[in-house]
Subunit: 346 residues, 2 copies
Amino acid sequence: MARIAVDAMGGDFAPRAPIAGALHALSALGPDHHIELVGQTAVIEAELDGLLREEFASVAHVRDRLTIVEAPEVVDMTDKPSAALRRKPNSSMVIGIKRVAEGQAHAFVSAGNTGAQMAASLVLLKLHTGLTRPAIGTIFPTARQPILVLDVGANVDCAPEELVQFARIGTVYAQALLDRSNPAVGLLSIGEEPEKGNLAVKEAHQRLLHAGINFLGNVEGRDLPKGVCDRGPIDVVVCDGFTGNILLKFYESIGPMLIGMVSKVAGLDAREVAGSLKELDVDEYGGAPLLGVRGVSIISHGKSSPKAIKNAIHVALRAHESGMTEQIGRRLAESMPATTGSGITT
Amino acid sequence: MARIAVDAMGGDFAPRAPIAGALHALSALGPDHHIELVGQTAVIEAELDGLLREEFASVAHVRDRLTIVEAPEVVDMTDKPSAALRRKPNSSMVIGIKRVAEGQAHAFVSAGNTGAQMAASLVLLKLHTGLTRPAIGTIFPTARQPILVLDVGANVDCAPEELVQFARIGTVYAQALLDRSNPAVGLLSIGEEPEKGNLAVKEAHQRLLHAGINFLGNVEGRDLPKGVCDRGPIDVVVCDGFTGNILLKFYESIGPMLIGMVSKVAGLDAREVAGSLKELDVDEYGGAPLLGVRGVSIISHGKSSPKAIKNAIHVALRAHESGMTEQIGRRLAESMPATTGSGITT
């Protein structure tokens, strides 16, 4: 049994996309699961009524497992994260995350302002002990199996130790959400030799050798689309949020461009071709948990479709049921230096 | 009239690819142009004889415009750059670059060890005044026009001022080799706002506003495949060599992967599809000048085909004829702070 809070006001296609996504999810989930739509009640009710009369008429019974949680304010995409948190305490974003922080919901899903979601999650859910920053992990489709890349934007300048933390967090994620038994972690760099890379990466490489994780060594840009490097298949790729964010946006943009070009040459309909390439569909994963906070906060793309939201709700459910957050906390605690009774850190 | 030195021993497919590439180039170039094949004379002669008897029998007259320059040693792909330079002073790499340094050849082209080529070019050709490091610029095909991305691997940790230098160098390159009249330069970052990015990028952004170049502001990963950002078409993208190298290798790998996947779905031959997408053909540009040194040294991919070498020779010729090197020197000199007679820098 799980109870997922969904930001009904967040994202470019809100409120329709998150509400339709919630209805899709409820139709597919067992009767024990419940969804809370957080936002302006009147707006949500109007949209919900329309959807239940038309597109979702055949599954109107799922309405019983939907609750509306009133939140009069809305965080805009252009709001500054810290200001949004301070000036809009009654926004769907803040109230939704509070539901998780206070134990009323098991997870929160939003396609709204990512910076605001990060800030609110940090303040309300708090970081696990030993972490200085959270990370955003995203799934990259590859020619082989999907891989988790982190960080893709929460941290622009990363210390070596933060890259090591990402490796630990990513290992737990890949076990809990991607079913990888002993996840292989690669460090993104510009050559496979340990001495290749910028200063932070070279130092992180040395620390990762002794971090108790299944460390593959450095991986290169060319290995990501293949999902494999010379030392074997990759499950997790660790990088700073500057490189990761540029790579993610490049990937999201070049896929449609290449599909369009090839389809044109082949005289095919690009949308049909894209539809056949399910493994490249970014909606398949729908959302990425903000990693490192004490609670499940799923970040979805601003352009999320109902299908993407539905899948993000599944990710939320899986993160909750697998106990991913608790496992990350345990893993980080194990890796921290023991403190003696005298207060001296050994 | 130009005289181009080609490293006959460099690259995964040497000596055949560079020699065949030179023959292709001579067949297409006017009678004033001359090529020097630098390497082990006996090896080059044997390969050349074979090619002129068979594939190039119909253009055997171009042999008159080919000279062999003996270089008994060969730099391997695995040689450390500085060691290669010190221990193999009679390698095709070192002797070829010396031909340019001493004014006997107008340009040098190699598909060999990139690190060794950079090191030898730095030592023998020397940097323009005001530069601390050279940069490697590469052409990225886009949905619109090709764009120059630099640096893609010569510098892993870049100071803000180095990013500004890349913008200046890139501007000259785009004018001289890509025929852009007032090249628009974007700074690669994770958001278009000036405050987005890592520390070096944020500082570089401020300096670029006053650098006397056509600065577009920040561009994002998603803008590169499109060749355009919200403020207009992009000609040059500036980034540190760590990010640039990862992005370049990612691009080189994901193109074939996506073409393969789409071709499979469409029931087409991936090689035929790739052949039709001329704008995505990395061989089209063949090589990139090492930017910032006082002479033309063209870096080609280790996997260069004869066609890639032929095109790299064209790039070399164009770089020489356009006076690109001299223009870069002039541009850098203009941008340097004036020094007064008293020795006080203003």
